[in-house]
Amino acid sequence: MKRVGIPRSLFFFTYLPFWYTFWAELGYEVVVSPLTNKGILDKGVEEASTDLCVPVKVFHGHVAYLAGQQVDAIFLPRMVNAGSQATFCPKFLALPEMVKCSMTDLPPLVEVRVDLTSPWSLRSLCHKIQQEWAPGKDFGAAYRRAVLAQEAFQAALTRGELVGSALKPYTGDEGDKPKAEEALKSELDIAVLGYPYTVHDAFLNGGLLRKLRRLGARVHTADMVPIRELRRYRMHKDLFWHYSNMVFKAGKFWLQPERRVDGIIHVSTFACGPDAMVGKMLELEAKARGVPLIALTLDEQTGQAGLDTRIEAFVDMLARRKTGAYNISVHG
């Protein structure tokens, strides 16, 4: 059986169910790289150009991991457009070139351009992949099952499931899902806004979601907002970048009076260009609604003290705002 590897970073957290199912239906064994760990980060930092943001560096690390797994190919799409005016950030656009420039001895890469400007483009793209990589296989069935898998995933997120646990059927692990006893007392609603590859990579963000649950907060993310809901929030002018629009509009969604969250955490990474805009816009939006916002900037650091202090103090502040007294948790 042929094996295809899918790196656990960037587009992975949004589109894995589709691509996993599609490749599996074409008769491939799909190998996903493990949760990001120190080895993968170190490898990525070593391979990637120093100016890149840490998620892209981590992506290099995952590719390096897969390259060592005797796979017949690594799936490395050029994500261009997800069906709106906006495109993915330039680092997504140049991802195949970046990887090829800095890494050698790679297995063949499935380099395809995912540009969904027209409604039929995904279908014809998949058809092309099938013809090239799995001639003779039933394209139609594979495509339909992939679409269903993706829809089921989106529905799970809309019901409030975290990406990590919604991906369990594919990855075999829970990602950053907190243990049952940690999720017991939930008194605060906090929207954790950021790109899926930072919010759902527990190694990069120091276990942020788990920490918040342990401190007694219910976590809401941008991916939990249905796409049709996001479309309702018009901006004076949309941003250029797909994920940036998603994060900002999700911020507006969670700030609506009927579901107003107690606080917003904006998770960003050092050297992220688009976030210079998104961060400021979210800040203004939250201020107008009277909801506290804190920005966390992630990089390669593994020391957690600064991050922990900010998270704990933020949760304390929200709890005190809500109850009028310090709700002293023994963890904070």
Partner: protein, 319 residues
């Protein structure tokens, strides 16, 4: 008589406070951490014991600061709390209607905005320690001015020079340049104070609504030059509390008091004799998975009492 102990282990200083039953400070101590938090806490306990009034028993202990977890294990804390919350609690106790807390310590600086006694917003400096106490320390040493007199030099300035404040590397070259041009040390120091305040207000205080009363605390509040520069920049009086250097420790003691009073239970305090116990830390790289976490274990008198640093909890939960 009952009392409460607060311990704040920061990067530069370790501060301890003992309060009476009502939360008023009866003894306090400010010593240098010198990179050895356990030794500093033990030294602090030993010195503090002599200052505590006879007949006072500790009924609750709180720890805070970047070394709060470690300190919590060493002294046996009932509460381990982040320093932002502790600073806010102490400031609000002292000045009940306080609306702004400016805090500058050795490695970090923060601003806390309160309304009606509740923290509504805060910010901390980013990773870089530019514009904090350790930079002033360094410059004082370079100019050969005792740090204690730094502020009074600034107040004597006639015409403060303009110094770049964003980055301490630039600030230092700017200062050297001004010095070689022939500006007086007083004017340069005053300029430095203004640059630090400008940097603070532009970065940490960015976009925050600074309303009076304003309380200025943390080790740098000892510097009258910085206080004057804040007053000049804000156009508001700035209040420096008597115990400005130990406000975090006081806040931790107050929170411990609040906790023990609402939920009475015996304290976990190991007693002042914890100063004489033998604590050892050791670390190793876990080989359980490719994360290779650096696990720290703390032992007291040869017995392991705490472990941390592992992401999965494998070692932490062993105890």
């Amino acid at each position: 008589m009952g009392g409460y102990l607060g311990v704040d282990v920061g990067s530069v200083s370790t501060n301890l406070v003992v309060t009476d039953e009502e939360g008023e400070i009866v003894a306090s101590l400010y010593i240098r951490t010198q990179g050895q938090p356990i030794a500093a806490v033990q030294e602090g306990l030993a010195q503090l014991e002599k200052k505590v009034p006879a007949g006072l028993t500790i009924e609750g202990v709180g720890t805070t600061g970047s070394g709060r977890t470690l300190a919590g294990v060493v002294v046996g804390a009932d509460l381990v709390k982040n320093e932002i919350t502790c600073h806010a609690v102490a400031a609000a106790r002292l000045v009940p209607d306080v609306q702004t807390v400016l805090e500058i310590g050795g490695q970090d600086s923060k601003i806390i905005i309160l309304r009606d006694g509740v923290v509504t917003d805060f910010a901390m400096n980013t990773v870089c320690a530019a514009g904090t106490g350790s930079f002033l320390d360094h410059q004082a040493e370079r100019l050969n001015v005792p740090i204690e007199e730094f502020g009074s030099y600034a107040l004597r300035a006639k015409n403060p020079v303009r110094i770049a404040g964003r980055c301490t590397v630039f600030a230092e070259s700017d200062m050297i340049h001004k010095q070689q041009m022939g500006h007086s040390v007083e004017d340069i120091i005053a300029g430095l104070c203004e640059a630090l305040v400008r940097n603070y207000l532009n970065n940490v205080g960015k976009g925050k609504e600074i309303l009076p009363p304003v309380v200025f605390q943390g080790g740098v509040a000892a510097n009258v030059g910085i206080k004057a520069a804040f007053e000049k920049a804000l156009g508001l009086p700035v209040y420096v509390p008597e115990h400005f250097g130990v406000m975090g420790a006081w806040g931790a003691a107050l929170l411990a008091r609040e906790k023990m009073r609402t939920n009475p239970q015996p304290t976990r305090f190991r007693g002042f004799q914890a100063a004489c116990l033998e604590y050892k830390t050791s670390s190793f790289d876990c080989t359980g998975c490719s994360n290779q976490c650096e696990v720290i274990s703390i032992s007291m008198e040869g017995k392991v009492i705490a472990r941390w640093g592992d992401r999965c909890g494998r070692w932490e939960n062993l105890l």
